[in-house]
Symmetry: D2
Subunit: 284 residues, 4 copies
Amino acid sequence: MNRSYRLILSCPDDLGIVAAITDAVARHGGWITEAHQFADPDHGWFFMRYEVSADSLPFDGDGFREVLSPIARRFSMQWRVTDSERRQRVIIMASRESHCLSDLLYRWRSGDMAFDIPCVVSNHPDLRDFVEWHGIEFIHLPVDPENREAAFETLDSLFQRMDADTIVLARYMQILPPFLCERYRGQIINIHHSFLPSFAGANPYRQAAERGVKLIGATSHFATPDLDAGPIIEQDVVRVNHHNTVADMVQLGRDVEKTVLARALRYQLQDRVLIHGNKTVIFQ
Amino acid sequence: MNRSYRLILSCPDDLGIVAAITDAVARHGGWITEAHQFADPDHGWFFMRYEVSADSLPFDGDGFREVLSPIARRFSMQWRVTDSERRQRVIIMASRESHCLSDLLYRWRSGDMAFDIPCVVSNHPDLRDFVEWHGIEFIHLPVDPENREAAFETLDSLFQRMDADTIVLARYMQILPPFLCERYRGQIINIHHSFLPSFAGANPYRQAAERGVKLIGATSHFATPDLDAGPIIEQDVVRVNHHNTVADMVQLGRDVEKTVLARALRYQLQDRVLIHGNKTVIFQ
Amino acid sequence: MNRSYRLILSCPDDLGIVAAITDAVARHGGWITEAHQFADPDHGWFFMRYEVSADSLPFDGDGFREVLSPIARRFSMQWRVTDSERRQRVIIMASRESHCLSDLLYRWRSGDMAFDIPCVVSNHPDLRDFVEWHGIEFIHLPVDPENREAAFETLDSLFQRMDADTIVLARYMQILPPFLCERYRGQIINIHHSFLPSFAGANPYRQAAERGVKLIGATSHFATPDLDAGPIIEQDVVRVNHHNTVADMVQLGRDVEKTVLARALRYQLQDRVLIHGNKTVIFQ
Amino acid sequence: MNRSYRLILSCPDDLGIVAAITDAVARHGGWITEAHQFADPDHGWFFMRYEVSADSLPFDGDGFREVLSPIARRFSMQWRVTDSERRQRVIIMASRESHCLSDLLYRWRSGDMAFDIPCVVSNHPDLRDFVEWHGIEFIHLPVDPENREAAFETLDSLFQRMDADTIVLARYMQILPPFLCERYRGQIINIHHSFLPSFAGANPYRQAAERGVKLIGATSHFATPDLDAGPIIEQDVVRVNHHNTVADMVQLGRDVEKTVLARALRYQLQDRVLIHGNKTVIFQ
């Protein structure tokens, strides 16, 4: 994949947005390799993601930003330009269950997904060996009723110190406090082991077994102060039947959880996720 | 498909149930063409469905029942023997939307599914022509706030007079009163246009659009006095994205609804659905 | 859905294509409601589909064409502008099996898909009644070894006389001669009852059963002189197991066939299918 | 999961097979926890898999075999009784690509699937570190044109010495010679990166891209002397579109490959796979 600059923007919908952008790109010889746009007529809002080949432009990312800046002002855009070669810094948080963590570490070490992992944080020491084998720092940060508040302050400092772009809750079984969800809005990706909004909260597989559903699922969403209610990034399901116990569902569900989480993270790493109220626009 | 007798039973789990049944079948030369069983360890309950080739037995269904009767008593079974050649009588109820009704009528007239339709009942006259073209009686039974009670009494009489085995609510947009749900427990199949338990009640596609889910679904379940809370027979989903409006979801959902409803009815017609508390055992 | 003009084009990839188009649209106040583009780096070819709200433009389709014409010449585009309110004329061809035909007629009469059906053509008379109930002309055109050539000449005249945009082979069990496939290249949509390229030719479900595959499928593609080898528009699959006989597969497959065919036709009606060598670009 | 004995058998279909088995089980107080059977009417062959709770029987596996032995002789059964607590010995073979191997090692170390890995064999040294971190022996066995024959002889001895039950070709990019496929018939599970029978042989993703299919897949099958033509155990697919390059397909395909291979191995470990000519019966 060749280096490209990614322009991601949203703004009130208006005449001439695309023309202004494409004209600016074309005037500098920019080669658009991927283009997505979406106008939400209900809210009169416009979303766009363009990839422009870096080689085709006579300047770097900052030059590109300079060229786009007046257009952005004119249309009151929320916008950013990212560089496909800059790897995001992703902190992974886990508890004891390793399926999501293992899957992400595999994708990291095999190059299947390009990102840096400044550290893995867990409230249990169990996964230390496996993480450290990868040459990644493992931070054991116990969270219990007495130290909850202090622990989350530590976490906050850690996110800052590690300069994290994205935090992945890879079956991290603690509920983050509202102040963290708000400070890192749009940066914390959680995997919930149900097809939300069904079975939010604890023991979703048990809830699913009790309701007798014929499909179980997993949902990746941004963490917000409301538990399991943030913008959904990705979901998927798998078929179950009367033979399946809660234990079977846990097992079947693991494969869906890790797939859904990996897809959500991939979208995030490629700047394909735009938050739109309590929903997401995913430009795949 | 050759004629067969279907033995469907459930009872407290115990030693020797299968042996007693298979021995009785074998002693009379019965040829088992399909066999399913399930023991729920949590509730200590046993479920079974056997198909025995009719040709292989020296007696008819009543003779078969006579042979099985002492075994059924011994193990306190709820049981029945049905004849694959006896077509169920299915009343279809619809409102204005025709996708589920059209699909079922196609399956009926093409022989894809074998059942009789004594009549189609609707609270609107719109679908009369199409139904009558099939040579099927169409009964227009308006339901409005003033006549609700009387209308449902009429419906009850109709179910009796028509000797209905199964009633299909093919997007019939009225809520049946508890007395009907109870009198025809396990006989009334509804299709709800969401992936239950998410989005029960009215306007599920609107609810889904507002929540920003990435998959929408449909659920076929038995009607019970609790709205959209009866035993689930079948579910499925389809992928949506940010481009999809509520109207798009309605359209995409129709195809899932009719597929899910047709599967559920097929299981019911083949005596593959056993109710187990508020869940179902489906022997496919 | 509001009226829109659809611009569909392909051309050698070059700098400034999108800028030229979007500038022309913006200069006339055009409101882009949907935009898709794709550049194939292997072949250096560019594909685009834009929807522009008709209300936003100060001219009609011809005026729009006039504005775009110089740009089209400059970039050597193959292009067209279509009107979302102009319904395509679709001739459906069937034999005896009615599942695909029934499904398409349901979608037509319910308004699920907007198109006109000048006639249904079949080499068997079986489906006459059902078609005529819809008020659609049914043409029985037998094809047998003696009259094959004449029959296909008749078909050709019919396509011309009926001014057909698209011809759907809805399980029409005759192989069209090369001259028809060529004359109507990109206009004839076939449904093949296998997951191509597996099991081309006759009896695909028997072939699938013999090979012991665990999924069976259906493929909608443009008819070309090479049997079952034209550009694929859409495919899907359904799970089977050792219990399923060829007859079961035929039944299970019908639901996939009609779904896949309906999707392919929907893409075609909305001008979302661009042919690219022996492949398709589908802008959904 | 409690300990159980699994009875797996196939034989010419006949009257009284199930009765004889269930009677023998019941006479000794055996508790059947899972039961599957299948009669293939085309070939007159019968297949069965029963799980009987070990606790419920007054003898061990050998005692069970003794009880069943006369019945097996009477019906000319191919049969075996396995113990759910005996872990199969599975040799995993890989080349350079680690997705399938990583996935299986995760399932092994997390207990998701219960089996022993006497060693991992590879024709490349790349994966040594990761394998050895698990405490599993890594055997580097280069295969090149000069030493092919000797290498495969070594492999044969290794299978013997390691007392392997199952050999998994986890993207092992060498074609095993016919003598190995025959000696270990029903024991060697391969994953092929296409939806067979489409795209057998080399570079299936390139073949898929060239044909323009809309779904790509993976197939797990038993290795036989005919390349990619052995009995299929499991298959699955994933959707692709015109944007996807061959490289994208390789990436998307990896996830399908590892899922399909893991499912196939799980069936094999639980004695759920019965070979039936060139097909499989999978009792799930």
